[in-house]
């Protein structure tokens, strides 16, 4: 735990010691804010549904961009060698990195609370439960995409390549349930279960089912495991 915290803190300091975190957060806030407020007063509905629809789309590019440098940069500048020769477990390194990336996503998500405050002050009959579960769904989705992005960052030394791999992988999860009409009935259930949208929409509706939570935690665990294996295998090459 001690080492995870140190890796996490260094990574987070790295984000905020460079313009990167600020640029990402401003872009995230502006894009979400623009699309949300555009229709919020037009529809006149007291919910954040529009926000909960737009954030998963912004995530598709935002999270791979946040996570692309997590490990690829260490490989690229050579600091991975210093890290690998410290008495540090690979899992501690990977989890510390993942948590730092996820925390930045949470800050971005937290910044959208301004829309919630607007809603709470001008709206009527606000369903706070649905808003809570909507945010929970987005946080889980953010964690899942960060795990995928961390893995993408571990397979290459090049951040741009890591970004492209990351976008591709999260797009696969995002698009899976859009392909349901094209797949045979026998595997449609499996495809639907693998699709992130299916679980997100369940949680966003206010149904916090253990199956949905298990899905998110399994995918996060799976990609963190893959990342650890990728880094371990490099030592044996």
């Amino acid at each position: 735990m001690h080492n995870i915290r140190i890796i996490y803190k260094r990574e987070l300091d790295g984000y905020f010691n460079s313009p990167m975190a600020y640029i990402f957060l401003v872009i995230f806030a502006v894009v979400n804010g623009y699309f949300f407020t555009n229709t919020f007063f037009l529809f006149g509905q007291s919910d954040l549904r529009m926000l909960f629809d737009i954030v998963p789309l912004v995530y598709l590019f935002f999270i791979p961009a946040v996570s692309m440098g997590l490990i690829a940069k260490e490989n690229n500048i050579g600091t991975m060698e210093t890290i690998s020769t410290l008495p540090l477990n690979t899992y501690e390194f990977v989890i510390g990195k993942f948590l730092a990336g996820f925390f930045l996503i949470l800050i971005g998500l937290g910044a959208t609370a301004i829309h919630f405050i607007t809603l709470a002050s001008v709206g009527t009959n606000v369903d706070y439960g649905a808003i809570f579960s909507g945010y929970l769904g987005l946080a889980l989705m953010g964690a899942m995409y960060t795990a995928v992005g961390t893995y993408a960052s571990s397979v290459t030394d090049n951040q741009v390549v890591a970004f492209i791999i990351g976008v591709f992988l999260v797009l696969v999860f995002y698009m899976l349930d859009k392909t349901l009409v094209f797949v045979p009935h026998s595997i449609a259930g499996i495809i639907q279960f693998l699709a992130v949208d299916y679980h997100l929409s369940n949680i966003s509706r206010g149904v916090i089912d253990s199956r949905n939570l298990i899905y998110f935690f399994s995918v996060i665990g799976f990609f963190i495991f893959l990342t650890i294996q990728t880094l371990e295998v490099r030592r044996w090459k």
């Binding site: 260094r10 010691n17 050579g78 210093t82 690998s84 020769t85 008495p87 540090l88 090459k237």
Partner: protein
Amino acid sequence: MIKVTDLSKNYGTVEAVKSISFNIQDGEIVGFLGANGAGKTTTLKMMTGYLVPTSGKIEFNDLNIIDDTHEIQKQIGYLPELNPLYMEMRVYEYLEFLAGIRKIIGRQFKEALSRVIEECGLRGVVHKNIADCSKGYRQRIGLAAAMIHDPKILILDEPVTGLDPNQIVEIRGLIKQLGKEKLVFMSSHILQEIQATVDRIMIINQGEIVANGTSDELMSNFMGNVILNMEVKGAAPETIEHIQAKVPSVKFVSLNTSNDIQQIQFEYGKDQDPREDLFRYAVENHWTILNMTPHTTNLEDIFRDLTTESDTHA
């Protein structure tokens, strides 16, 4: 003590290190010398646990690098080649980060920081961003990072590459100083660098150790025959070419004549000195000696011979 036994590393079908074995005793400064691509860095990476050997053993006292990786890494300070650093961090932040992973925190860290600032001469730059430090200072930061936990063993990969002559002298002094208390294993492809700093030299070529010993041992083991360059006037060619009949220890090598001056090369064994006999022979045969210069093999010639000989075999 470090004991390396039959260590090999293959990258795909390329054999980077071929079954090398050596020992290093505590308190020794050992130089690992080889041309670029000879296998030095691969060996060091295996010794620090960054790469896993294809076969063979690396032992630090009773610990094995495969089974006790972290225990060994606690005892090692490693300066990688090219000295990678987090440029956006301040010097003390970087050292604090590394110390943190080694569980050196709070007061212990403050003491360790003062020690490495003193030893590595970092006083003026502790609060600076690493990116704003000169290359010489960055090298010192790399060394400080390797020493923050006061390790018993220092493994330094090309510690002076890219530094200017003054910085090289400073870092060399620092390494010598450190070598008084620690086992230091440093690699370089520059012979003079190694020769000026270490107690013992190991030469690696194409993944194999081709020499191992002190400068003097290498000289006596690998020194070839002495080449004697002479410039003479008035010597009959047959008296030059058949010199061995009268002076048996001397062998004729070559003769060039220009402007009445004959430039001759003779060769004789490193343990002999037949120059007096040669002088008498020259007088008997009416040569006028203008110059007589013996050329003995130096360590650089030995290094070049050892690291090019196998190239021609390959």
